[in-house]
Amino acid sequence: MKRHLHFLLALAVVLLMPAFMQSGSLASEVLIYALAAMGCNLLLGFTGLLSFGQGVFFGLGSYTIALTLTRWPLPMPLALLLAMLMGALGAAVVGWVAIRQKGTYFVMLTLAFAQMFYFIAYTATGITGGDNGLLDIPRPSIVVLGHTLWSLASPWQFYGFVAVAFLLAFWLLQKVSRSTFGRTLLAVRDNEERAGAIGYNLKLLKLQAFVISGAVTGLAGALHAMMTGIAPLSNAEYHTSEMILVMTVIGGAGNLFASVLGSAFYVLMADWLSTLWPRWLLLLGLVLMAVSLWMQRGLWGLGDSAWRALRSKLEKQHD
């Protein structure tokens, strides 16, 4: 039971959102950014790599799905896979270069890449639509042998599709995090020097982490574009990278479900608070500072500590 706890929690979130929320688009957004945060978490929480480049992979996913559904049409499932592939490729390039440095220099390199990609996206208006982005991205129904199996037209219908993709990705990422690879990444995060000394090729391991992260983030970008119908320039902006990192840290590094918490927190707060008070980002800034000072394990850590406290209280009452 404990083994499957995180997956069940993720499943619970997926099932509960339609029950409690009005907007299918908002629910989809939670899952989409959860995917992006999980991709970021693989790098930060598992490998110890703080990457500001997630916006690059997210943007690549968006642009790819836009182009493969409008200009060079492909069947939708294939288009999605291609978007993931482009995300993975982008991550391979960024990762391969950035890994050459460590610590702060690594972070700076990912920042530089994020900026470079932004400007390439801004100027290559033929492919990316520049400042306008790419528009009118359709949401093709799932069609098999001429029969429409699943229409994705309404927000909640699309949510169903996103939910399936999300749960599948969650399950796969869990497998990765528990695998020999995932465990080796934890060692790299704990003591990189020793990991290298006992025989592991650090560069290739980090690169593989980047590629998986890029694929997941690319998927998120593609789904986002399908949901909104546009692939805007802002998906490739520094702000997107920062936002994804913020969600990951607030949720809690090193734990996949924590990323779901982080995404839910950010997306729902943004939606709810921004109608109350346009300067809700101030609160977010304060939350970030609070997490850094007192809650390094993020929302998940908070929940975990509360649960432990509750349990020991109950045990005491038992005696």
Binding site: L186, R194, G196, I212
Partner: protein, 256 residues
């Protein structure tokens, strides 16, 4: 009857800008022996270790291991060839359990498996046999699930040796394994190192002369980046040059 030479350093040099940390070192280590390297601080012992294990690259000279020229191979390559080292300053995976530390070290000889993103490391994939045997040898079986950061200093030093052991090395390099250890732990460490000789070749840097004189087959003395003397423990102990290097008052102890 001497055993074959497993490891050889030929004219090894290491320069940091103009400073010669090693100025042409020749060393022969025979298989299944305990070969100690001693010398005053700054003699270049740890630098020599770094050259032999591939932690850092040489400025000149060659290193031969098991018949291969490994001079330009990085450390993770040499691990696969059968060289494993422990660290002078404990460098474990502090947040991970003892068993996981050893599993990682054991897995390190087949690092390709570390890219497997599908299978969990359990059973044979976790090199379970090796890990259990090493745990037993170290006397740490009861602490298998404790995070390495929670062990006592002496236990951590033993785990350090275990990390090298888990890699099934032909040659095991121990860099001051007893540093900072109290009297109780020292005996356990001495017995552990002695027990290694049958299956491995041990190259040892040590300051504790008690251990060096007791368990070494060969002692090499270094000074200022060069070899000063080499030979059997008792010969080294009575060597005038060595006494002068140590100012005559550090080579006491041992039963030889």
């Amino acid at each position: 009857m001497t055993s074959p030479i497993l490891l050889e350093a030929i004219g090894v040099e290491k320069y940091y800008d103009k400073f010669a940390a090693l100025g042409g070192v020749d060393l022969k280590v025979r298989a299944n022996t305990v070969h100690s390297v001693i010398g005053p601080n700054g003699a270049g012992k740890t630098t020599l270790f770094h050259m032999l294990t591939g932690t850092k690259s040489v400025s000149g000279g060659r290193i031969l291991f098991d018949g291969h020229d490994v001079t330009h191979e990085p450390d993770h390559r040499r691990v696969q060839r059968g060289m494993a080292r422990s660290f002078q300053v404990t460098s474990l995976f502090l947040s991970l359990p003892v068993r996981e530390n050893l599993r990682l070290a054991a897995q390190g000889v087949a690092p390709a498996k570390a890219f497997n993103c599908w299978h969990e490391p359990i059973g044979a994939r976790a090199c379970a046999d090796t890990v259990e045997r090493v745990l037993d040898k170290l006397g740490l079986s009861s602490l298998a699930i404790t995070p390495a950061g929670n062990l006592s200093h002496g236990q951590q030093r033993r785990l350090e040796v275990g990390m090298a052991l888990a890699a099934h090395p032909k040659a095991i390099f121990l860099d001051e394994p007893t540093s900072g250890m109290g009297v109780d732990d020292l005996d356990a460490m001495k017995r552990l190192i002695l027990s290694l000789r049958d299956e491995h070749t041990v190259v040892l840097i040590e300051h504790n002369m008690d251990i060096v004189m007791d368990i070494s087959d060969t002692v090499t003395v270094m000074q200022q980046g060069r070899i000063l003397a080499e030979g059997l423990p008792h010969a080294i102990r009575s060597d005038d040059r060595v006494r002068a290097a140590y100012l005559g008052n550090m080579i006491t102890g041992g039963k030889a």
